[in-house]
């Protein structure tokens, strides 16, 4: 298999480069490799799209925790504040 064919077949390497691209910079050589691969591989293009979507969802999920409506129960909070007061009095 020639070098171009190898790149075109290697979805494992392409998905690795997709992940690297989302976090870091690719080298010129890696950019070209990924470009060649994606041009001919619709399956990895789907992977690329989904991978970005997953990252966005995860980031959004974390941000939404800032205004989420989960609450600690009242009893736990009361005990906790009492514990804090005790510590304050110790000092």
């Amino acid at each position: 298999m020639g070098p171009i064919k190898k790149i075109q077949y290697n979805c494992k390497q392409a998905t690795f480069l997709i992940e690297k691209k989302l976090i870091d910079k690719l080298t010129l050589r890696e950019k070209i490799e990924l470009h060649i691969h994606l041009a001919g591989c619709s399956v990895c293009r789907v992977f690329d799209k989904q991978s970005q979507l997953i990252n966005k969802m995860v980031q959004q999920f974390l941000k939404s925790s800032n205004n989420s409506d989960v609450h600690l129960n009242a009893g736990f909070k009361q005990d906790l504040q009492q514990r804090i007061e005790e510590e304050l009095n110790k000092k």
Partner: protein, 192 residues
């Protein structure tokens, strides 16, 4: 003594009222475990009392408490990823040995990514899909989840993650790649 030195900057009497729910939600989103999240909230307040005199008022109370919580979350990740969890890692690795043909790295037919079918319908706000994502995150090996969370949720530097979780840079990239492969496969399997 503490009460007098910190009274102008910190108000521990109001901490629970003001920040407990916020810190709890913050920890819960990152740890996916109610009991651990609750314990950490308590630990944060107690740790904060101990080092109250180090608070200089350069940030808000909330930011300061959140920073303490963040360190405790990383400690938890570290604890979770040591020891027995190696078994889960091996199982997860095994699973994805099957994703590609070893000879040329080509996708095996049955593992090829397919469209989720929601790409065009504002998937970010699809509640059910978000729930499936959370379930899939829970299935990841602890170390992978820790690396993934620190990178994508906290935007920590790669260098920092490697130091904190004691992984080599080469291993970091392997984990990032494998985590996404497994997570995506789980979404496809559960959703479609």
């Amino acid at each position: 003594m503490l009460a007098t030195t910190t009274s102008s900057l910190l108000n521990p009497h109001k901490w629970v009222d003001n920040y407990a729910d916020y810190l709890y939600a913050y920890a819960l989103a990152r740890l996916n475990d109610e009991e651990q999240a609750r314990d950490l909230v308590q630990e944060v307040f107690l740790a904060a009392l101990e080092r109250a005199d180090m608070f200089e008022g350069k940030s808000t109370e909330r930011t300061w408490l959140t920073a303490i919580l963040k360190n405790k979350i990383i400690d938890t990740y570290r604890r979770r990823s040591s020891g027995l969890n190696n078994v889960t890692i091996r199982a997860a690795e095994q699973e994805q040995e099957d994703f590609f043909y070893p000879a040329d790295g080509h996708w095996r037919e049955e593992h090829r990514p397919k469209e989720f079918g929601i790409e065009d319908h504002d998937p970010l706000h699809n509640k059910e899909f978000n729930l499936v994502l959370q379930q899939c995150l829970k299935k990841l090996p602890a170390l992978w989840l820790a690396v993934f969370t620190m990178k994508h949720m906290e935007d920590e530097s790669t260098e920092n993650i490697c130091t904190e979780l004691k992984v080599t840079s080469a291993n970091f990239w392997v984990i990032i790649h494998r985590t996404k492969l497994n997570l995506r496969a789980c979404l496809q399997k559960t959703w479609i």
